[in-house]
Amino acid sequence: MGDRVADTGPARRDVLNWLLGSWLVGVLGSILYPIARYLVPPELPEAAPPSVVAGKATALATNSGRIVAFGTAPVIVIRTPSGELCAFSATCTHLTCTVQYRPDLEHIWCACHNGHYDLNGRNIAGPPPRPLDRFDVTVQGEDIVIVRRT
């Protein structure tokens, strides 16, 4: 097709090519920009409540733990061998598995990569890089109530 329009001169062809190019860029831009924005999930406001009831205090035996939902995140409530109550975020600081209480070890353990935390939430062995976030625990009537620390 080059020969057919060669006599109309390069100037006209340049203008046409430039127009076609800008059209292409404009169309692609107006398609790709909304798609790129659409693909990024919108931020959801965290619906985590200030406090949750974590069941009856009498139902949590000494040297055992229980996982409860705090909004969308799991929290582990533990009654230590000495009978105290404590609560931590149950999300392992290594690769976000959910941890569990090991009565035989008397501390918190993550099954995914053998991470260990003591009863203050400190990472004591294995790969976890940071301690678990601590929650405040109170007993109101018969209920265990856990509150996020500010």
Binding site: W23, S30, P34, Y38, P42
Partner: protein, 363 residues
């Protein structure tokens, strides 16, 4: 460097014959050649449907308890979600219109003639598939209007003799329209129908390329009598650029429609609420809906619905097999165009009547 890269690619992607064929391809040029753009337009809108549909899948949840909320989320919270959903809905409607226009132009220009019978058959099947996409997609936002329209639409299958009850259960995934229906229609809409469509579109396009564009008999005869060849246009870049221009206009139209007339979501479906006033199917099913309203309860002991469906079924088969029974004489072709035009006018009139009746129900 560039030459070496070129050679490297050519050796691994032996597309030379294809590129050569495209370079030498021409499209006949005459007063009806606008019709050659309608198929491409349908294909473009189909592409839009695939793209926006895939995007919607990222946020849509196909269950009775979450579908409505997820569409609401797409429309209100996801950036440009309203645009993606509105374009999907508008493009679906324009695609039906483009496919119907394509079929009508092929019929009026007699492009279904030998050797293009299978191109016609695959095209009619694709139109049916397009309508099936429309029907299955309508329920997915799980709103009141779609819920009852789907209930009515699926109940119509009960009129089919012998297999009626089975068909109703089969399309609904149970005795009634429930969450099971939603999941089932969703599966058809995003997996089963696209699978069939991919094969049919490939066959259709391959046949179109193999046979080239059909020239209307009148144009062919005139050129023969005048003893000159039919004028033609190079496919690349002339035809392609015109096609791209059309597609850009269609895209602008879609964006405009979506911005100024965003597709409504309505209220969430409630199976225990009474059917709202003005429930109706999508516009392309309205003429059928109107025929059902006019059908007598029984005629000669046969239920009216059965008669209507028998008529529609016979009509559908006649259209599908048109190239095999259509005669080749000129008189006959004129008669066919006349009958088809009358049928289209009746369908258009029925659609208008249904739209007006519905407008009255809202007042």
């Amino acid at each position: 460097m560039r030459r070496r890269l070129d050679a490297w690619v050519r050796e691994r992607l032996p597309l030379e014959p294809l590129v050569e064929a495209v370079r030498h391809k021409t499209v006949p040029q005459h007063r009806s050649s606008f019709a050659y753009y309608l198929g491409g337009m349908t294909l473009f809108l189909f592409g839009i449907q695939v793209g926006t549909g895939a995007l919607l899948l990222l946020y849509y949840r196909p269950s009775a308890s979450e579908a409505y909320e997820s569409v609401q989320f797409i429309m209100t919270r996801v950036p440009f979600g309203w645009l993606v959903r509105s374009i999907h809905a508008w493009s679906a409607n324009l695609m039906v219109a483009a496919a119907v226009a394509h079929l009508v132009s092929v019929l009026f220009l007699h492009s279904y003639r030998r050797p293009r019978e299978l191109t016609w058959v695959s095209g009619v099947l694709l139109l049916g598939l397009t309508l099936a996409f429309g029907f299955t997609g309508y329920l997915l936002p799980w709103n009141q209007l779609a819920f009852f329209a789907t209930r009515v639409g699926t109940d119509m299958a009960a009129a089919v003799p012998f297999a009626g009850d089975f068909l109703v259960r089969f399309t609904r995934g149970g005795a009634d329209v429930t969450g099971a229906t939603l999941t089932r229609l969703f599966g058809m809409h995003v997996a089963i129908l696209p699978m069939i469509a991919t094969v049919l579109v490939a066959v259709h396009l391959l046949l179109v390329q193999a046979h080239g564009m059909s020239v209307p008999p009148g144009v062919e005869r005139n050129a023969q009598q005048a003893g000159r060849p039919i004028r033609s246009l190079p496919f690349l870049p002339h035809f392609v650029l015109r096609e791209l221009f059309g597609w850009t206009v269609a895209l602008a139209l879609l964006a405009g429609l979506s911005a100024f007339y965003p597709w409504e979501l309505g209220t969430k479906a409630d199976p225990f609420a009474p059917a709202p006033a003005g429930i109706r199917p999508e516009w392309y099913f309205l003429w059928m809906f109107q025929v059902l309203k006019y059908a007598p309860a029984t005629l000669l002991g046969i239920p009216g619905e059965v008669l209507v469906f028998a008529g529609l079924g016979i009509g559908g088969v006649l259209v599908l097999l048109l190239p095999f029974w259509a005669s080749r004489t000129d008189r006959w072709r004129r008669a066919l165009v006349g009958v088809a035009a009358c049928a289209l006018l009746v369908m258009a009139a029925l659609t208008v009547i249904a739209l007006m009746a519905d407008g009255g129900a809202h007042k």
